[in-house]
Each structure stands twice: as C-alpha cells, then as structure tokens.
C-alpha cells in the first residue's frame, strides 16, 4: 500500500524523523486556516500517488493569504496524469542549501536490506542511477545485524554528503531504518532530504510503501486503507477480496493463480486480443467468489468477452461452473463467456454447464483455443 505524502510524513514523525510542520486541507478555506496557523510562507502541495506533480503545477509557494487562496483553488481538482487532486498538504516553506536522497528497501538479489544515499537529491533518482551511478552510495544490511553508526558514517562519506550535514544525515538514516523495519515498509524514501542554511537536516518529501502482508501487526494502518486511491473496478475488487489490476483492453480475464492469470493475459495478446484486466481469483475460490469476480469484470464497460481459465488444484472446477450460473442470474450478465477448465472435478463442471452452452456460454478444450475464441468475440463486438 502506497501512502500519500502527508501520511508518509506523519509516519516518519512517529519515528522521530524531522519533517516540516504542516497539515492537510480539502478546501480552500481549510488551506487558509492551516497557513494562518503555521505561518507564512507556505508550500501548497497536491496529494496524489503519482510522480511529476511539480511539473504538472501541483506544488506552489505561497507567501500570503491571497496566494494560498489562488494556489489552493487551482490545485484542488487538478488532473495530474489521471489523478484528480482532492486533498492538499500545506507546510512551512523551507530554505534549502542542499538536496540529498535517502532510501531503504529490500534488495531481492542480495536478500538483504539496502540503504541508498546520494548527494544528488531532488531529481528523479532513476535518472541518477542511469546517468551517474557512482553518485549513489549503497549499504547492504544483514537483517540479523541491523545498521550501526560506523557503517552509516562510511556511507555518508562515500555519498559525498557535506561536512556540516553528516551528523544530521546519520541520525536520520538510523531513524529511517527503524521506520522501515518496525514500520514494516517495503520502501521508505526521502527525496529531497535537505540541508538548510541554518545547518539543519530534514525530510522535505516522504515516500512510504507499506507491506500489506504485515497489516496484521498494524491495526493503525486501517486509516490509510480508507484513503486509498484506485479506479472503481479496483476498489470493488478489493472489497470482494479479489486480486485485480485494471487494464485497457476488451477481454475480461479470470484465472486461478497469479502465474496462470499473467500467462492468460499474454496468450490473449498473442492471438490478437487485448486484456481488460488481471484477475487472480486465488487458490480457494468457490462459486460465490467466482460470481463476485464476474460482477467486477461486468462493471467494466469496455469488456466485450470474458475468458475464464481455471486449472483446478485446490479450486474445484464444479464450483467455478456454479459460480458462472449464479453470476448470470445475480448480475444479469449478458457478455459472452468463454470457459476453459482442467484439473479437479473438471468433468463434473462440464456436466453442470452442458445444458447452458450457447453463444453466451462457450466451452473450449485448451487455454490457447479459449483465448482465441474470446479475442475473436471481443474484436467483433468492438467494431
């Protein structure tokens, strides 16, 4: 789960990482009230989970009430790469001498935690990685050992952090590591981490991705999930407990298992179709869940055909067949469905579906055959 900047800063603050004083605002009046309270000048920042908001006009400096009103009203409702701004973060403006970059994440290849630190912050770090890889200093951390001050001091030297900022950066890295570990984040990133003319180091931005699998240890994360963004299809899927990613094509896809679902997308593409989504109905899908999955896909107006590709292991094919029939009844599904079933109880499933076979419920023997049929129907339907 990705946090908004303001949530990330609140998360940082819990672990003692210095951030600029500020608050959220959902209206122009609220923005003014926050600015009046924290003092001018302030920065008005769009809260969206997408990069490049600065360039899109989503971050503005305001030195008085009139400017806060002007910027807050122009940024609220702004469309930044398809994300509509509904919330602002207003914070005290900072004087900046230097901009650094700092992050912790898990390096899968090394199977260790990785700290990255650079004196070249404030810009797209991916670009720094490509153009000047030596500008990023790396420290691998054995999860059993954690970080220690000596290693961090070396890292800070290696990254070329300015002398007057070194102690402050080390202190923040120690806190950021605790935020990453104890806060169960997949990623914590500060870009930029700034040095002020007064010699203070603090986080000007906050990017935090939480590990959803650790949610059971963090009941306090509930408030974050309430504010999650996503398209309507994805929110509906999440509510139903389905693993769904929305795409732009015309063939709706349901498969069991992430690998088979991904592979089904590929095969649909190879036979000339376009996938409308990735949907893994999971290892334990029963008839009701299958019907829920069909309901989610049916909510997508672009879908012209639905492909169900199931290899029953734990999932029983007869439950899938029943789910199809329930969905047709419950949601008045009219989009043609192409079904391929193998594995546990597949013969029984075929028996259940046999009386219903029509132009709208079509059985195919193989994964490729089913993909081809679904793509054909979808392509015809969209012309």
């Amino acid at each position: 789960m990705d946090l908004f900047e303001y949530q990330g800063k609140q998360y940082f603050a819990k672990f003692g990482i210095p951030v600029s004083p500020g608050d959220i605002a959902d209206t122009v009046d609220e923005a003014v009230a926050v600015a009046d309270r924290i003092g001018y000048p302030v920065v008005v920042k769009a809260q969206v989970q997408v990069g490049g908001r600065g360039k899109a006009g989503g971050v503005k400096l305001a030195s008085d009430v009139a400017e806060v009103k002007l910027h807050a009203s122009s940024i609220l409702g702004l469309d930044i790469k398809g994300h509509i701004v509904g919330r602002l973060w207003i914070e005290c403006a900072s004087d900046i001498s230097k901009e650094y970059y700092a992050s912790f994440t898990l390096d899968r290849a090394e199977k260790a935690h990785l700290c990255m630190l650079s004196a070249k912050g404030g810009v797209d770090i991916e670009q720094v990685v490509e153009e000047d890889p030596d500008a990023i200093a790396r420290l691998y951390i054995n999860p059993l050992d954690g970080v220690n001050a000596d290693d961090l001091a070396k890292l800070v030297d290696q990254a070329g952090i300015d002398e007057e900022a070194k102690a402050g950066v080390v202190e923040i890295l120690e806190k950021l590591y605790h935020c990453y570990i104890d806060g169960d984040a997949d990623l914590v990133e500060i870009n930029p981490l700034i040095l002020t003319p007064a010699g203070k180091v603090h986080a000007l931005d906050a990017k935090v991705t939480l590990d959803d699998d650790a949610a059971f240890r963090h009941p306090e994360w509930n408030e974050f999930s309430l504010t999650q963004e996503g398209d309507a299809r994805e929110l509906l899927a999440r509510e139903k407990g389905l693993n769904y990613v929305g795409l732009d094509g015309s063939v709706g896809i349901i498969a069991n298992g992430a690998g088979l679902a991904m592979s089904t997308l590929d095969v649909v593409n190879q036979v000339g179709g376009t996938a409308a989504n990735f949907l893994d109905c999971g290892g334990g899908a029963d008839a009701d869940l299958l019907a829920d999955a069909l309901e989610v896909i049916n909510s997508d107006a672009k879908v012209r055909a639905i492909l169900i590709n199931i290899f029953g292991g734990i999932v029983r094919c007869d439950e899938v067949a029943k789910g199809v029939l329930i969905a047709i009844d419950r949601v008045g599904l009219t989009t043609p469905i192409v079904i391929r079933l193998d594995g546990t109880n597949a013969p029984l499933a075929r028996e259940i579906l046999a009386p219903h076979i029509s132009d709208r419920i079509i059985m195919e023997e193989t994964m490729i055959g089913a993909a081809r049929r679904a793509a054909e129907i979808a392509n015809k339907g969209s012309k």
Partner: protein, 295 residues
C-alpha cells in the same frame, strides 16, 4: 532418480490439525508420501486420521526420524515454524504459506544461511514439490503428473506449474521431479539450486523452467545454464504484457523501471542457449521435440 525427495522421505506436517494442513497432508499421504507425524503446539497426543500429532518438531523428529517438513501454518506463525524445523534438524522444509511479511522472510533466510546452512527451505508461497510415483509434498494435484521422467520442472508459479505438468503428461512425457520455488521476494530455494540438482541427477535428461516478471533470478539462472549445464532447457516467462509498477498477484511479480521485464529475461535465456517458448503450450511442444531427440 528424483531430486530432494524420494519414496523413502519421511515427512511431518506443521499445522496438520488446521484445515489446509489436514486437507493437503492427507492428500499427500493418499498419493503415497510417507507422512509420519503432525505438529501443532498444544495438540500433542491427538491424531489426524491416524497420523500422530506432537507439540514440537523436535519431538516429532525424535519419535519418527522424519527428515522433511511441510509447513502449512498461517502467515504470522510461519517464520517461527520454519526456524523450529531447522533447529530440530529437518533437512528439507517446504512452506506453502502465502502472505508472510517480507521482513520475516528476510530474517528467516539470513538465520538459515548463518545457523543452518545445510537446511533447504522451499518457498514460502510455493506449491511444493512432487516426484511422480514416489512422493508429493505440498498442494500439487498428484494425478496430473506422470512418473518415469525424463523431464525436471522448476517454476515460480503454482498453477503454471500444473499447466506445465499437464502439457507434458498429455503428450506422454513424464517427469522426474517438479519443484515450485514460489513467487515471493525472498525464496529459500532458487532456480539455480534446482537446475544444479537436475544437472547432477542422471535420470533427469532435460529441464523446463517457468519464470515470471520481477527480480533478476531468471537472468542469474541464464548465466548458470550457459556456464554449467549440459542438459537442454526449455523456458517460459509469464508476464510479457504486464504493465510496469503493478504487482501481478505474487509479491515478487512486479516490473520496476526497466528491471524485471519478461522480455529481458527471455533475451538472457535465449542468449544462454535456452529454448524459449512464448506460452505454456509451446513450452510443452518444444519439450516433446527435445525428448524425442534424446533417444
């Protein structure tokens, strides 16, 4: 021969009294796997369909001589269960549990490496492994596998593993061992471990490798195949059409920036002399050809 397990492997099931453990543990026993004990703290002395349950792995090992463990416990208990098995001297730990926090996985991996270097962990979040006709540990439906070899399968995905088994069995091509390494960010066993075992196993004469987007394990496997494998390998990588930045179900399956794309993996494998198929059906067909040419 098979790798990692055979018809004599004695297996305990951690979490046998739970619904997953009971269902799959009994299914494995029905297949012929020597399931000798279950472990559930606090339920020692009970039995599940005649299989004795112990409070700790150490007790179960002392009483039965088991060398393998099938871990089917909930995510919050999984890390501790794996470490308990390692401490009791279990040589092969198969963990099917999904949704274990990444931090816990990283700690388990580091602990095993430092304190129990001889213990092999398969998974977490994997379907397990099956040596057709001999032993099946995990959630694979035994009836889709075909005994007799000569193909070894290694895969990051569960249902795609079944698809691969199905494609081969349908064509009359048997398997020596089919190993699901799992789709999580920190797998205990990786492609190279399994490919190395297939290369060393005289009965395995060719291998199928099924990868997916995310990480760089497939690229590392390509280097290994180029430098160390004499046996033919067919590969399929899922997720060519997956968009960047979106997790495709598995915690590990994500394309970030230019890292982890299916195309990069296929190119690396191709360059290493691997036969790369564009879908699971084609992988099966290519393997049929490979096997025919082995005679």
């Amino acid at each position: 021969m098979s790798i990692f397990i055979d018809e004599n492997t004695k297996v305990i099931v951690q979490g046998l009294t739970g619904s997953q453990g009971r269902f799959h543990g009994l299914r494995n026993r029905d297949y012929g796997t020597k399931v000798v004990a279950g472990v559930t703290p606090g339920k020692g002395g009970e039995n599940v369909d005649g299989i004795p349950v112990f409070n700790t792995v150490a007790e179960a090992v002392a009483k039965t001589g088991a060398t393998a463990s099938f871990v089917a416990v909930p995510p919050r208990a999984a890390a501790e269960a794996i470490l308990q098995a390692a401490e009791a001297g279990i040589a092969l730990i198969v963990c099917i549990t999904e949704h274990i926090p990444a931090k816990d996985e990283a700690v388990v991996y580091a602990r095993l490496k430092r304190d129990f270097p001889k213990t092999r962990l398969l998974g977490p979040n994997c379907p397990g492994l099956i040596s057709p006709g001999k032993s099946n540990i995990g959630i694979t439906a035994g009836e889709i596998a075909l005994a007799g070899g000569p193909v070894g399968i290694v895969s990051r995905s569960g249902t795609l593993t079944y698809q691969a088994l199905h494609e081969l069995s349908q064509q009359g091509v048997g398997q020596t061992t089919c190993v699901g390494i799992g789709g999580d960010p920190v797998p205990g066993t990786n492609f190279i471990d399994v490919l190395e075992a297939f290369e060393a196993d005289p009965e395995t004469r060719a291998g199928i490798m099924i990868g997916e987007i995310g990480g760089s394990e497939e690229e590392r496997a390509a280097d290994f195949i180029r430098d160390h494998m004499t046996k033919p390998v067919v590969a399929y990588i899922a997720g060519v059409t997956a968009p960047a930045g979106r997790k495709m179900g598995h915690a590990g399956a994500i394309v970030s920036g230019s890292q982890g794309t299916a195309q990069a993996k296929m190119d690396a494998l191709s360059a290493a002399g691997v036969i790369v198929a564009k879908n699971p059906t084609e992988a099966g067909e290519k393997m049929v050809e490979v096997v025919r040419n082995l005679q």
